[in-house]
Amino acid sequence: MNLLAFNRGLRDGIAIAIGYFSVSFSFGITAVASGISWWQAVLISLTNLTSSGQFAGIGIIAASGSYIEMAITELVINMRYALMGISLSQKLDPTFKRWQQLILGHCNTDEIFAVAMSRNKTVTPAYMTGLAVLPYIGWSGGTLAGAICGNILPMMISNALGIMIYGMFLAIIVPAMRKEHPILVVACVAILMSCIIHFVPAFSFITDGFSIIICAVAASAVGALLYPVSEEEEEAEHAA
């Protein structure tokens, strides 16, 4: 295990962990409020490590929905991970062993994925482990804290914490949009489409999970058509 890469990963994971703590805190509150016990909420966080899927899942459990409904909902909401998984597979270091993929692959959340992809090096098992450890603890710990003492926290603070996850997203996309024109175009197409799907009543049948997939696929396709990345550019990026 390369300790340097592991430490680097740990450092990159701190911000994600803090953001996760606040988001999973509200998950813990919601879970207990919808009738499951604190340890059941924590167990969901330990095994799922995803915000939207878990919130939707809690809703189905609370409504005593069918198992089929649970499976389809989770599939649709989490389908974007398949897209990101393919993207990440191209960035994994050749030293990645199969069993490491089977464990670390499950830690491929939106934020961990984005941070791993924004590196200009291949992703090694040591780096990925370091990157995932603190967010995993933050996510489970936040759920536990929210489930046990959620009602103590003033509404205003939990509200302010709710925006942290998006702050992290913006911290990743804004500098890239500024630096590279193609990414600016891709992001703008994605944002425009996402807003249209959300606000135009004719598209209200499209769920959030599907909306993200449609927007991401369309915007990336536009980017790939207009600005195909050449091998040399990729090499230059990796060397930078």
Partner: protein, 101 residues
């Protein structure tokens, strides 16, 4: 019919796990098609952009406060702030706005 927590948990875990891990295991070789490579390079930014907007404006109970948080985050991110700095500034601005409004 009474539903069982453990079966719910198993379904949630199994679906999420398979969706995440299968692509990693299946796509072990380097993809050579230029269009596909470019497409995959843009995916992270497209996913995050679509997830952020317009959802971020509804992340806080008060839309103007959320908007102020977005503006703060964009400015700090534009100036090259770290992941945590950007997220924390958005959070602080939202809190201050909620106090004022």
């Amino acid at each position: 019919m009474q539903h069982n927590y453990w079966i719910y948990l198993l379904i949630m875990f199994a679906v999420t796990y398979l969706v995440r891990v299968l692509p990693l295991v299946v796509f072990r070789k380097k993809i050579t098609n230029r269009f596909v490579r470019s497409f995959l390079a843009y995916i992270p930014y497209a996913v995050l952009a679509a997830m952020t907007f317009p959802a971020v404006f509804f992340a806080v109970d008060c839309i103007p406060a959320a908007a102020a948080g977005v503006i703060a985050a964009v400015i700090v991110a534009f100036k090259g702030g770290s992941l945590f700095t950007v997220a924390a500034s958005a959070s602080v601005v939202v809190y201050v706005m909620l106090l004022i409004l």
